[in-house]
Symmetry: C2
DNA sequence: GCGTGTGAAACAATTCACAGCG
DNA sequence: CGCTGTGAATTGTTTCACACGC
């Protein structure tokens, strides 16, 4: 499997291809062309073929792609073929929202612990978890061998928390704070900022 | 103001510049160079200058940018200089999460109505709003002159809801359903898919 | 014939580097 | 001198178009 020279943007598109394939597999569709999958996802057929070619040859000429086979291959590539445990830092409105969302949907991502720096929140129940103080972070991450974290803390605390997480060995984070985190090489970080997205829309209105 | 030939990607970066400027303004900083702002946001100095040059000349040579002035200009460009009312479709776990998030943070985006197709949810209270049936959608959008909507419905309902929204005159939507929406020219749609983002991270792990 | 996989071509975005001005 | 604004150069991405195999 390649690892260095696949453009980031290609990797970001794979989950959407996977969604399309899962959708089609659920409907019992056996085979799909790059053309059809592209229409579903909203990208060109050539782009799908080029993107997939970074990882191998998955199609049959004259036929297209076998839906379940390509789906499984993409899951392997994205490491979406297994469950992941993650921790949540920040037990405010957004944090509890995320817990509810992730628990309600039956995803392969499971929140196994929640932390907050505010003592008033410690012990508070969120679904079947209890909010813990930040001092417990290191122990939990190490004991449970956690790779992923969600940050739902205020912007001015986010960098500090990110540093703590990195120090404990977390290698991926989903950051909801409206700030760009500084993380070392080898740690991967994705930002989600709904307000920024809304501003990107209102530009056109 | 330009409107057609500004690359989409430039528009998507502006909100982050705005964040940096708001941060600096709150700290009383008067002036900032593209270099410093770029470090904060995580882009190159040249990129900031080039991006801003699509909209005008905002800096002073030898000095940099006056923080509050550039902030205000960006707010104008993004139409973030006023409040926006929006509606939410989908009152499930994710929907209530979003209501709590948007109400708790004091943003300039205000949810003024919540809709759901499930009769069991009608009348349910979410903060100070009551979930309404989809049949009320058109009336509310027209009466309140709504431009923006958030979609938090299951994937297989999303396209239908999007069509309804477009028909009622909504011109922008933030889509949390894991599906690419088909919308006509002139309607703007941003996708937010946390699971896709997590998959983009686990690729590297 | 149909649809993949892929170099080559076209296009787009980013970075460079410097003129110009405070 | 410092820093912006911007063409030119570079780098990155997407599309084209066709050889190949089912």
């Amino acid at each position: 499997m390649p690892s260095q020279d696949v453009p980031q943007i290609v990797i970001e598109r794979l989950p959407f291809y996977l969604r399309g394939l899962e959708h089609m597999a659920n409907r019992g569709q056996r085979v799909v062309s790059s053309q059809t999958l592209g229409e579903w996802v909203g990208v060109s057929a050539a782009q799908i073929r080029k993107d997939l070619s970074y990882f191998g040859e998955f199609g049959k000429q004259g036929l297209g792609y076998e839906v379940t086979y390509l789906r499984d291959q993409l899951r392997l590539i994205l490491h979406a073929d297994r469950d992941w445990r993650l921790i949540l830092v920040g037990a405010g409105a957004l944090g509890s929202a995320l817990v509810n969302y992730l628990v309600a949907g039956q995803w392969q991502y499971h929140i196994v612990a929640v932390f907050d720096s505010d003592p008033a929140k410690h012990g508070k129940r969120m679904r079947d978890l209890y909010v813990q103080p930040m001092s417990e972070l290191e122990g939990v991450v190490e004991a449970q061998d956690i790779d992923l974290a969600i940050l739902a803390v205020p912007a001015d605390a986010a960098q500090q928390v990110a540093d703590d997480l990195v120090r404990c060995g977390v290698r991926g984070m989903l950051n909801y704070a409206p700030i760009r985190l500084n993380v070392p090489q080898g740690v991967h970080c994705a930002e989600i900022d709904p307000i920024a997205r809304l501003q990107g829309i209102t530009y056109f209105l």
